[in-house]
Each structure stands twice: as structure tokens, then as C-alpha cells.
Symmetry: C2
Subunit: 584 residues, 2 copies
């Protein structure tokens, strides 16, 4: 099945049915606790085929092959690490025997049971390789598509997704498992998973296991506005109750189906069951959803970036975002010395301080002499991704550094920056697009700085066209206002304000400025920077790269948001004001 065929299937607006539980059904068939499930399946292939056949007959359009733990790490727990290819091929066959071509077969990738560096010892690349081995076998076995499911680590989900994307062109669905507090074991929330995964190339993003269907309704409602891909839901038959040491799922099939109907109503496109559900549940579901139409994915997701644990929406009409500029060794002697010695203490301090002062995104630039920038960038990103939960802006003039950073960054990054220079368009843009990152569009070309505002606007439009070929939309690109100092060009501020207005009003694109450039060469710069930020916000600015430790600047930003009706009830302004009071 091609990705386009998958898309066409969704566009029919008929709810697509997945299968129900495997694990709990296998236990009913007698699978003991503690065995390797994949080995047991192969030893009980006919019985498993029969269960899966019942799902097909109940109406499932997609059956998950029982390859859940069939990766080298997991099989290694049972001394089966050398059987990956062989087992996956055989496991696919079990399902294909059940579907007889009447339902699609999804190769199932699931957690490896290992933790990724820096939590564990193994680096991301090892996980990608492990998944790739399984993916290749499943492709060879003839699966129609992939499902990555029951993921708790967003980074591990990324590893599996990258493995699929780099191995084949089959559609791939990814679902995460959330606990009752609404986040994964590693702290990822559903919106953050959606943003990260749909931009990395997932064809559907979903939730499986976790809870009963009723708890998923508000989650789907919340993430649907940002979903550019179908949402799929595979809930348990309610929350488990432990009876005699066994998890019992006691939501009846009619109740289950009725909640699932509501899930379709709020935006789920694909639906099935997880633990505790049976072919009866899928049959009930099919009847309940008959004739129902699904809500198609959106064409836009909003300007969203994410860390592993948080999404920041860069809203044209909402909160102005400060991108903390301090993690950048240029002109910072102590930071340079520490980085040379391999210490990240100053990076830690800058990160925490900037967030404390109000930065909601951190720019990361480690370009300096005497260090391996790529290695350091990867280290800093790994470090900051654990330390803080704000999204990062990856800032480098070297394409290989940005590529390495994007690969290891566990969310949807912002990349700073892509201009109309040939090397950026030809080499950097495809890489940034591969990882689905947002990027800062710097309106200059190989000819240098644009001579006037018309040329600036032309460059913006041209880069936009080039990026559209990589499926970028306006909302995915932040235009840099390209600030120069008023000390040498009296019209510098007015020209940048016009670019901001043009992007906001005519293109509906977010904008960013490097504030401090405006006042270069003049005294008392913080006053000029603050006034410029205020004017820029009034012209429609969405983000500023700045040092948030200037109270003058931050109060100007908060005041401007109040005045531009970007801070409902002046809540952020009042909170910031009272924080200030406490400090005094």
C-alpha cells in the first residue's frame, strides 16, 4: 500500500477499523506469563491465525501482525537476537493467513525495553538500527503498512519512525501510550507527540492502550485542531481492575462502542481496541459506527514546535515568544572556556536563567574555534532535552551540524536559518524538511543583503516557493525581519516593521527579529531595543531573539501583549508584575 493510497482511504471519511487486543486474547488461549510472546505465537500459529481471522470477520480493516516485541533488543532477553528476520517473516505469515487479502497487514514495531542515552547507555543510532533490521524483514514479509505502538518514549518512537522512513515508502502509523495523568512515562503529552511525529513523517498518529475510550475523548478534542494526519485510537476496554493478580477489563462492548462513536465525533479517523477487547467489541463497533463519517485531518497544524515534553504554539494573535539568545559563545569568554573544557555548567545556567526570566524557546549555537561543533551541538541538545522542557532553536552556519542536531533532537525543532543562498536551498532545505522542522527564513541571497524592501519581499516569496516543494506551508516558516541598526540607516526600523506587517497581514506568517541589532552603535541600547520590540509587536511580530534578563525588555513585551490584546485578562502581565514585586 502506498502512502497516497492510505491517504485516499482516509479521505473516504469512513471510520477505518483496527483489530482488538492480541495479548489478552493470547493469554486466554493459554500463553503463560514470562515467555517470549513472539515465540509462543509461532508455536501456536493456527490458534493465533484463528483469533485474527475473527477480527477480519468482525470488520477490522487493518490487522496488526504479532511482531510487537520482535526486535533484536527484546528478543535478546530470550536469547533470540539472531532470529529477528526469520521470526518476523514467520509472524507476518501468521497474520496473512488470517486476512487472506481481506484486510491490511500492519508490521508492528513496539518498545525495545531499553532506554536511550543519556537515560541509558545506548545512543539513538543503535535504536534506529535495531528497528531497521525488523522493518526490513517486515517489508520482505510483505506487510502493507507499519504501526509503531504502545510507545512511551517519544525519542524511541522517533527512532522507529526514522527506521521505517529510511527503509521503505510504506505508510506508518504511530501511537503512544499515556498514563491517567495524560502524559507518557517520559512526560510527553499527546499534542507534543502529534506535532513531533506528524512532522517527522508519520501518516497517522494515535493513542493506544492507556485507558478506556471515554478518557480519550477530551484528548482527541484537544489535539484535533493541530492534526494534519488521521488520528487513530485503540483504547482498552476500560481501566484494568486487578483480580487475583490478573488485569481484568470490564467495560462492556456496547459501552465501549458508544464511546468510540463519540471519539469519531470529535475527530478520530481510525479506531480499534486494545487490552480486554475481543472480536465481539470490533463487531459491536462496526455496527455502532455504520454510516458515520469521520472528520478529515486539517490542512494546517498551526506554527508549532516541540521539545520531548512540551509544545509551543507560535500564534499570530497570541503570546509573543522570546527566544533566549544567550547560549551562544560569540563574545562570551567564560562560556567559550567551559565549552573547550567540555563543561556544560554555563550552558545549564544560561538555560535555566533564561527560562526563569520568560524565554519560552532557547536558541542553541555552539559555533566557536577549538571545539568540534557537531559533537558539542549533539551533546548540548541531549543535555538540554533532559534539563528543560522548552523547545530549542538549532542555530548553526554548518549544514552537517544542523543535520546531526535535528536527528538527535527529540521534538520538532526550529532551525535558524535558511536564506535564498544556493547552498542553503540545495543542501540544507532538504535536510530540514526530512526532519520536518520549522525554520527561520532569512531574507538574503547570494547577492547579500536585499537593497530595498521590495527585494526583501521577493526573496521571502521565492524561498517560500522553494520550500513548498518540500511540503512546507507558510505556517511552518518564521520570517526573520533582518534587523540592521538605525545608527547607519534611519529607515532600518520602519523597513523591518513593514516586513513584519507584510508577513502578518498579507502572508499570515510568523516573524522573528534579532532585537539588539537595531541599536548597534547608539547609547542606552536597552531603551531602543524595548521600544523596537513594542513597535514590532504592534506590527504583528510573533517572536524575538533576545536576552530575557533585561527587565525593561520583558516588561515591554508583556505590556505590548496586553495592549495588543494578546494577553487575555492581562494574566501574564499581572503575574510578571507580581514576580517583580517579590524580587524587590
Amino acid at each position: 500500500m502506498t502512502r497516497n493510497e492510505f491517504k485516499s482511504l482516509i479521505e473516504k471519511k469512513e471510520p477505518i477499523l483496527l483489530d482488538g487486543a492480541s495479548g489478552t486474547e493470547f493469554q486466554k488461549l493459554g500463553m503463560p506469563i514470562g515467555v517470549c510472546p513472539e515465540k509462543w505465537v509461532l508455536e501456536n500459529a493456527d490458534a493465533v491465525t484463528m483469533v485474527q481471522r475473527k477480527y477480519v470477520e468482525a470488520g477490522s480493516n487493518i490487522i496488526y501482525a504479532p511482531t510487537f516485541g520482535a526486535n533484536r533488543f527484546k528478543l535478546g532477553d530470550y536469547g533470540l537476537e539472531d532470529k529477528v528476520v526469520e521470526m518476523n517473516l514467520a509472524l507476518v505469515q501468521v497474520t496473512q493467513n488470517a486476512t487472506k487479502g481481506e484486510a491490511l497487514v500492519a508490521g508492528n514495531l513496539s518498545p525495545t525495553g531499553e532506554q536511550i542515552y543519556p537515560l541509558g547507555d545506548r545512543v539513538l543510532e543503535e535504536f534506529i538500527d535495531v528497528y531497521k533490521e525488523q522493518v526490513k524483514a517486515l517489508v520482505q514479509g510483505g506487510v502493507d503498512l507499519f504501526v509503531i505502538e504502545t510507545m512511551m518514549s517519544l525519542q524511541e518512537a522517533r527512532a522507529a519512525l526514522i527506521a521505517v522512513k529510511e527503509s521503505c515508502d510504506l505508510p506508518v502509523m504511530v501511537s503512544m501510550t499515556y498514563d491517567e495523568s495524560g502524559v507518557t512515562l517520559y512526560g510527553t503529552d499527546p499534542l507534543t507527540a502529534l506535532i513531533t511525529l506528524q512532522n517527522l513523517g508519520a501518516d497517522a498518529v494515535g493513542i493506544n492502550c492507556s485507558t478506556g475510550p471515554e478518557k480519550m475523548i477530551p484528548i482527541v478534542e484537544k489535539i484535533k485542531p493541530h492534526a494534519k494526519v488521521p488520528i487513530f485510537i485503540k483504547p482498552n476496554a476500560g481501566l484494568p481492575k486487578m483480580i487475583d493478580g490478573t488485569a481484568v477489563y470490564d467495560m462492556k462492548s456496547d459501552t465501549f462502542a458508544s464511546y468510540c462513536k463519540e471519539l469519531i465525533g470529535v475527530g478520530a479517523n481510525i479506531i480499534g481496541g486494545c487490552c480486554g477487547t475481543t472480536p465481539e467489541y470490533i463487531k459491536e463497533l462496526k455496527d455502532e459506527l455504520a454510516g458515520l463519517k469521520t472528520i478529515l485531518p486539517n490542512t494546517k497544524q498551526g506554527s508549532c514546535i516541540s521539545s520531548e515534553r512540551k509544545t509551543v504554539v507560535i500564534d499570530l494573535d497570541n503570546e509573543t515568544r522570546i527566544v533566549g539568545e544567550r547560549i551562544n559563545p560569540t563574545g562570551k569568554k567564560q562560556l567559550q572556556a567551559e565549552l573547550r573544557e567540555g563543561s556544560l555548567d554555563e550552558v545549564t545556567r544560561f538555560a535555566l536563567e533564561q527560562i526563569e526570566m520568560g524565554a519560552t524557546i532557547l536558541d542553541v549555537n555552539v559555533g566557536m574555534n577549538g571545539i568540534d561543533e557537531k559533537e558539542m551541538m549533539v551533546r548540548v541538545i541531549q543535555h538540554l532535552s533532559r534539563l528543560v522542557d522548552v523547545p530549542l532553536c538549532i542555530d548553526s552556519s554548518h549544514i552537517d551540524v544542523i543535520e546531526a542536531a535535528l536527528r538527535v533532537y527529540p521534538g520538532r525543532a526550529l532551525v535558524n536559518s535558511i536564506s535564498l543562498e544556493e547552498v542553503k536551498i540545495k543542501e540544507l532545505l532538504p535536510i530540514v524538511a526530512k526532519y520536518g522542522a520549522m525554520f527561520v527564513l532569512l531574507p538574503l541571497s547570494d547577492k547579500g543583503l536585499p537593497k530595498n524592501i521590495e527585494e526583501k519581499k521577493e526573496i521571502i516569496q521565492t524561498v517560500l516557493e522553494k520550500a513548498k516543494a518540500f511540503n512546507y506551508q507558510r505556517e511552518d516558516i518564521v520570517v526573520d525581519g533582518l534587523v540592521t541598526t538605525v545608527a547607519t540607516n534611519a529607515l532600518a526600523a520602519k523597513e523591518t516593521l513593514e516586513v513584519i506587517r507584510f508577513c502578518k497581514e498579507d502572508l499570515e506568517m510568523p516573524t522573528i527579529v534579532g532585537l539588539s541589532n537595531i541599536s548597534f552603535g547608539l547609547p542606552n541600547r536597552s531603551y531602543l531595543n524595548s521600544a523596537f520590540l513594542t513597535m514590532a509587536i504592534a506590527s504583528g511580530l510573533t517572536m524575538a531573539i533576545a536576552n530575557p534578563s533585561s527587565e525593561l525588555l520583558m516588561m515591554a513585551m508583556h505590556s505590548s501583549d496586553v495592549l495588543q490584546n494578546k494577553d487575555p485578562g492581562s494574566m501574564r502581565y499581572i503575574r510578571k508584575s507580581s514576580e517583580q514585586q517579590e524580587e524587590q
Copy 2:
């Protein structure tokens, strides 16, 4: 001659010729030093008529009647205070005998020799009465128009002008005499005289005596762009040299005429000679100017207000103006107590401090219980007009208070404010128009605050129409943005910014806001006020009523002016920054 006939005469674009010197000619005829010139003229009427006849024959279109000192105060020096009417009638006859209807006869009003309160004991009203007595006699004698000349006190010139305007409808020309430094004895500069007098109803404004014609060229160049009335010039034949105790003017008539030609080239419409010139000079002038066309007065003067010694141009594309708000007893216990006791110490302190901090206009409001507001307003205006040289904004809710203030204010005031309320349009507008003051248009009506921005715009347009009937133009009116707090209306700032943009871009009108209203009810107000000022300046604001002692606010203003290219070379910003440094 009607004022319209005078205007038509100017519109022919032919240079209008005045006469030459009287005094120095009479001295040649034997008039001794120390006598009453008017008495001497009447005793030597035939000789004087003959001199004036020569001017007519040389080409003068207007002959000044020899009524220079024929006012009660001046004649009083010779015990002739009861002969005012009789002498003026006779003196006009002397000139009429010379002109024989071939030239116009101008009744001549000149300094009384007395100083006006608070410099002297006599109040303005006495001077108006003295001039009125002379004006009525001259009208009875049949003068064609009036000239008020050789004035050194702008306030005395105003007294004479008010006297003419309140006595007849004849055209009236007013010229001041400047010393070599370019200001009058009382410190008035030519632009300030022009702005004050043309708005008070002068039909031509000029310079006489003072210096030779060459020094007047740059002055005419400078004031011409603001002149809505013809400019007239009556220079001496060079600077006097004292020879044997007598002033000798030695610029030759051809040199004189050649400079006068240049004066026509830079914008003079009416020209003649003062001390040292003779009928020969006028003859030479007539030949030199033959065929030359004058530059007509402008239809616009710019948004200018003045004190007695300074003009402030409220330029849409230049320096933002801070109107100091502190001279207002509302909420100020000490100021209230002092005003009740009749002390102006606090007023003095507020005035000086606000100017020191950057206010270029001062709002004056003395409305409070327990004092006679009208009396206090007149006192404060008299006091401040001597103390400081910034123009004043007359701020009262009582029409009689504003009227008394405008009469005594020695420049072109700004009045705060006129709304669409019936009492303001019917009663206040005609008074404000009589004194030619600029006014603040407050966009509210008898129905109260406008419900939305469209209603606000409608009120602005309606008041504008009403004001046009009184010869007001857009440039003469400053629209108040009518600021309310964002605490109760989240769109308050955006709506006011739109009014400012509308006035600047669509109407090309100056705007003013009372800054502090925006933040009422919120903490940390100075940040909000400063950010709002910055946004307002970016939207086109020209003035703000504020307390300039807030450094945050003033630096926001100076920064905004730099960013909006309203501070060429960042000169004011850099100066303000270095002042700050010095204070620290």
C-alpha cells in the same frame, strides 16, 4: 477697503509698494528732537502732505497716515491726551490730501510707550481701550486700512490688533521691529510673531525698521513656509551710523532696491522703506520690481502654537511633543493648598521641572473648589508667560475661563478641548476661533463616549465640518485619541491606535493622547504607559499629555522618535542619553 478687496489685491501677485520713511523726512523738514511729532505734523501739514505726495508719485500704493504716536498714552506725554480723536481726524486728512484717492491711506498704530502688566502696572485691557479710541477716530477719518507698526511687544501688538478687530472690518497689517539678534526687545522672534498675529486676524504680517533689507532676506525665507497672510517688509536704508549724534542711514537706493528684489523673490508681498529711505528709494524700488511676481501666501501654515517668545511646530513627521500634565490640582493636595493661598510656587516648580525633563508644551488647568478659576487662570498664564517660553495648553471645562485665558495669553494657544457637545460647538468654538487658537478635538458628544470606532471617526469628521465654518483647517486641530483602560476593554489600545492611524494617514491631522488612562487599574503602570506611547508614535501620534518626570516614558519617546525616523541623526536621543549619564 474690505478685507476681501485687500486679499484680491495681493492675489494679483504684483508687489505692493508702501511709502518710505516719515520720521527722518520730517527731521529733514526741520522737526526738532523732543517735540510731539503728531503736533508738529499738524503744524506743518502742507510740507508733510508734499512729502507724502512724492511717495504717491514715486509709486507707493499705500501711504501711512502720520498717526504713529497719536494714542492717549503717548499724547499724554505732551498733555494732549484729550486730543486723540481730533488729532487723528486731522492727521488722516493730511495724508488724504496727499493721496488724492490715488493710493490707500493706512491708519498707523504704534507702541504706546507703556509696558503691559506684569512688566508695567497697566493691564492688557487698558491698552486695548487706548487703541480702540484711536482706531475709532481713524475709521471716522476714513482710513482704508490699518497698519500696526514698529511693535516690540507682541502682547502690545495683540492689544492693537484686538482693538482694530473689535472696532471695524478693515484690513490690518502688523509689523514688528527686531534687533540685530533677530528678536524683539521682549524676545519675540519673527516666526512667533507671524503665527500669533496671523491667527489673531492680521491680514498681513511684517517687519519694519529693524535693519537694512539684506538682513531680512533669511528671515523672510524662514517664515514664508508658515505664512498664510502676505508678508510685508519696510526696512531701513541700512544700519544707522551715529554721526555727530544723528543716525545716518547710508545704503544707496539702488543697493536697497536690489535687496528688496531679493526679498520679493523669497516671499515678501508688500514692500516699502523705513528710516533713511526717501521718495527716491521708492521710485528706484518701483523700477527694480517692475514686472516681478510675488509668491502668494500659503493655504496652510502647519500646526503651530506659540508663546510670546517661541513657536512649537507640531509636525506629523517630526519630534513627538510631550505636553506636561502636572499643572492641574486634581489629586494634588499641596498644589491645591497653595493655589487657595494665592501662591504660585508649586506652579513655578512644576513648570520648570517639566521643561527640564523634556516637556515642550505645558498644560494649564486650575479647576478646583474654593478659588475663582477664571482669575487664577489669568494669573497663572501671566506668570508662566514671563517665567518660561514654552507654549501653553489652556485646559478648563468652563467657557468663560478659556475666554479670559485666550484674551490674555500672548501667543497662539492650544485649547483643551472641544467636543461635539452642543455647548462646546455653539459657545466655545466661536470664542476659540476669535483668538485663532488651535484646539484639541475630543471625540465625544452629548450622547457620551462613542460606542465604537466608526462613531468616533464620525464625531471627528462632524466637529471638523463645524470648525471649517470658522476657517479652521485640519492642521489647526489636534484629535484626542480618547484613551480608556485596557483593564476593562481589551481592545482599548488597539482602538485608540486606529484613531491615531486614521487621523495621521487618512486625515493628515495631529493627534494627542492622555497616556496614563490606558493602564488604569493595572500594576506597574509606567511600563504599560511607555509601551503604549511607543505604539502610538509608530501609529503616527504627534503629542502626548504626560508627566515627563518618568525617565522610562521619556526614553521610550526618544527611542520611538529614533526608530520612526523622527530624530535625524538620533541627535535628541543621544543628547538625552548623555544628560542621563551626567545625572548618574
